[in-house]
């Protein structure tokens, strides 16, 4: 093996991908050529040192950011999918009218039979009720988990329960006020928007604002307060605007909130 050929094999040498024959030939060359041996040793040392550089990890915000984007993208795709074209009532033509008449006759005849189906419908309502309770249970259970990512899933899952669900609303308010993780608190503020107009939400936003220590959550709450036209929060906004310890951006936002509500 010549010196030029050694260079061709260095890349394989570094990752241990030389064949036994190539390794043997390289060793034979090193026995005769000190320059190649020294160069290969130096490059190998640098290669090994690279392996000691820290394996950094992304921040905790990265996951929630991705999942929000994915959900938004999916919803965007669904919204962009064209709905089946609607036809006007009087555009049905004679076939449509014939079908309508047949359905009317069939409907009258079937009325009696449907009466017997009432019990079945009660069963269906019971099943829907059960699904609602299951969703509520899943949401509440996730919101109580130790892991912040599980609690974030719980906040996300809360969108599947209806607006009148008081236990879920209470759990979300608790998350906004007391969850140790900023991402969960932020997500809970967003989730509360589904309950907008509910007196239980409107009356508590100003208290939540006072309790927060995260500027990000404070900013999100001020937006929500302004959107809700929650004038009960005016004193809290004024106090925040005057606070010497509040974040500069939060103070500016509080001032903006005051101007919007007054």
């Amino acid at each position: 093996m010549k010196c030029d050929q050694v260079k061709e094999h260095i890349a394989d040498y570094l990752v241990g991908a030389l064949s036994p024959t190539e390794a043997e030939e390289l060793d034979e060359h090193f026995a005769q050529c000190t320059a190649c041996k020294q160069e290969t040793a130096a490059l190998s040392e640098t290669w090994e040192m690279l392996g000691l550089l820290e394996q950094e990890r992304p921040s905790a915000q990265m996951g929630p950011r991705f999942y929000q984007s994915l959900e938004a993208y999916r919803q965007g795709i669904q919204a962009a999918t064209p709905a089946p074209a609607k036809r006007r009532f009087f555009d049905w033509g004679w076939q449509g009218w014939a079908w309508s008449a047949a359905l009317l006759i069939g409907g009258l005849g079937g009325g009696q039979w449907l009466g017997q189906r009432e019990r079945g419908q009660r069963d269906l309502a019971g099943l829907q009720d059960e699904v609602h309770h299951m969703r509520q249970l899943v949401t509440l259970s996730l919101l109580e988990q130790q892991s912040a990512s599980e609690r974030l899933r719980g906040v996300d899952y809360s969108s599947r329960v209806d607006q009148s669900d008081t236990p879920v609303l209470t759990a979300l308010l608790h998350a906004v006020n007391h969850d140790p993780n900023v991402n969960v608190r932020l997500a809970a503020v967003d989730a509360l928007r589904k309950f907008a107009g509910n007196p239980a939400v409107k009356g508590t936003l100003d208290q939540s604002l006072v309790r927060q220590d995260s500027p990000l959550v404070q900013l999100a709450l001020i937006d929500f307060i302004v959107d809700e036209r929650d004038k009960a929060a005016l004193p809290s906004l004024a106090a925040l605007e005057r606070s010497p310890t509040a974040d500069r951006n939060v103070k500016e936002k509080a001032l903006w909130g005051l101007s919007q509500l007054q």
Partner: protein, 188 residues
């Protein structure tokens, strides 16, 4: 099913409309992608933005994924384009490479002076890596940090395997030279 094949199948499903499967590919690859960008740019925030951009592009251009095309190679091709476009957009803004945290793995040696020396060396190595031209840095990142085979790198860089090996040799040689120069400056 081996993970690489499973990734290919997942990407086929995403291409065919099952977008939720992208969450699995995110959990499997976002850390590796983050480190790829961090080694290239030296900026955490920018690297996280680029990772998000890669997943967005993979969703947007999912129809370009072909059956039998290894997912990892395709993902890094998308990542390279995201990096090039991202750097282009940032031209004129603040420089990318930040001062590192110097939290590299310390030597197992109990001697504190040895640990300090090792940390200094790793700091110099990080500076040397940052000083390399991006094409040299990239081939080192792909081969040393992302644990990709030369065949995969050839696929990503759209060249033959022999060219990749030559580039790896030139890149590690350049890195070694810069490192020893920096070490020499420090000693003198």
């Amino acid at each position: 099913m081996p993970e690489a094949r499973a990734d290919n199948v997942l990407m086929q499903k995403i291409r065919d409309g099952d977008l939720a499967k992208m969450a699995v590919l995110f959990e499997r690859h976002h850390r590796a992608l983050f480190r790829y960008f961090l080694r290239l740019t030296g900026n955490r925030e920018f690297s996280e933005d680029l990772v998000q951009d890669v997943y967005f592009r993979m969703l947007k251009y999912r129809h370009t994924y072909r059956d039998g095309n290894p997912f990892t190679s395709w993902m890094y091709q998308v990542a390279r384009n995201a990096h090039l476009d991202g750097v282009q957009k940032r031209k004129g803004e603040m420089p990318l490479f930040e001062e590192g945290s110097a939290q590299e793995q310390a030597s197992a040696e109990p001697d504190p002076s040895e640990i300090v020396r090792r940390r200094q060396d790793l700091g110099l190595l990080r500076r040397a890596l940052a000083a390399l031209p991006v094409e040299k840095r990239e081939v080192l990142v792909l081969s040393r940090f992302q644990n990709l085979k030369y065949e995969q790198i050839a696929d990503i860089l759209a060249c033959d395997v022999g060219t990749v090996k030559v580039r790896v040799y030139r890149a590690i040689k350049a890195l070694s030279q810069v490192f020893f120069e920096l070490a020499g400056e420090k000693a003198s």
